[in-house]
Subunit: 232 residues, 2 copies
């Protein structure tokens, strides 16, 4: 990946968007590139947090394993998303494992390099705080959902969120363009594989979705799904 390609990635990244050209250029200069094969991890939960990453292409699933062996999916991440930084800044081990769900290309900065960047370009700190604030809000919303809403609503809301941030238009509706298993959905919504499967089956029967026995879902009637997500 040459310099202009790196610049293009950096300026579309949420952490750098809207910052002056020289900031973007400096950031692009300091970055390394790393490729992660499908199924591989960028780093592992518990590792020392030494590097910041930004997704250039591809997609990651951020997994957290609990002490008793259960697994939850914190989020999916795509181009422009920042990975690992919270742990680096706090000086704690990475709290989760980002797995490549497709082949993924990342830009990488060492802790020191990013520190220099932030000192040389103060607005970066503001941007970073903005992003962390967004994560906090998102987590609060999910907590509220899991704590108060029933499973059907949570699954609907989750599918809609993923579709909003990664969906592509196809003939029959909006497609989720990567492998999203029932297990993944279960681990995002705090339920079981079985319940997800049953629920989706119902929706497929009603023509809201397509994608029986296929992990590429297509949402045919998004409006109906919104109704389910919001129904009292």
């Amino acid at each position: 990946m040459d310099k202009s390609a790196r610049i293009a990635v950096v300026e579309r990244a949420k952490l750098f968007a809207g910052l002056p050209d020289d900031t973007v250029a400096a950031a692009a200069d300091g970055a390394q590139v790393r490729v992660i094969d499908k199924g591989e991890a960028v780093f592992r939960q518990g590792d020392d947090a030494t590097h910041h990453f930004i997704v250039a292409w591809g997609r990651l699933r951020l997994d957290q394993t609990t002490p008793d062996g259960k697994n939850i999916v914190l989020r999916f991440m795509g181009p422009g998303d920042l990975v690992g930084s919270v742990a680096v800044w706090r000086n704690v081990p990475y709290p989760a494992t980002p797995l490549a769900v497709d082949e993924t290309r990342l830009l990488v900065w060492s802790e020191a390099r990013m520190m220099e960047l932030m000192q040389a370009h103060p607005p970066l700190a503001m941007k970073a705080m903005n992003m962390m604030g967004g994560r906090i809000e998102e987590l609060q919303e999910r907590l509220q959902q899991v704590a108060t809403q029933q499973v059907e609503r949570r699954i609907a809301a989750t599918i809609l969120k993923i579709a909003n941030q990664s969906g592509r238009k196809v003939e029959t509706g909006v497609e989720i363009p990567f492998a999203l298993s029932r297990q993944d959905l279960a681990e995002m919504t705090g339920t079981t594989l079985h319940t997800v499967s049953r629920t989706l089956s119902g929706w497929i029967d009603e023509g809201i979705l397509e994608g029986r026995r296929s992990s590429h879902l297509v949402i045919c009637r998004p409006h109906r799904l919104v109704e389910i997500a919001e129904q009292a």
Copy 2:
């Protein structure tokens, strides 16, 4: 509250702890004081975020109301805790309402004043990011709990966390020194008042807790509670 009292509060606050004296003094100088009566709100969910607050004395309960009228308790906050800042920095309305559960005294900074402070004292930004990172981790942990663990474990873990951050030693064990209703616990753990009451009743019968029909709980056998929180 005179200047030296304000300084004492500021240097114990998580946002300023360990920073140079001149930073602390500058912060204390820029602060106003505000008193909130028991039961009153510091601000309301949805208000424009214009000020940063730090709790000096007292205790707040951070509530979030969902669109469909349900309520969840995000956290309790005591002396040293930062309130409202995430929303101010992100330039979004306050996402929750902090209610005084006891009479509470706060230090207040306007958005502009805090901005000046952060520009004059760059390490502040780092501290702020640290704190936000802590919130993210805490939320991820709670999400994981609500999503994967059963009610009994969640209640035990919640009581233990509150006891750790606010418990006081008394003759029979560790007391939670403020009014914590069954309803509050229900809204923190994502369950109902009834289930919390039943669960606590059981524990009181077993001698793990004291506090029947009283909102000041005393934990008599913390170790047993830890076992419950961690049991497979």
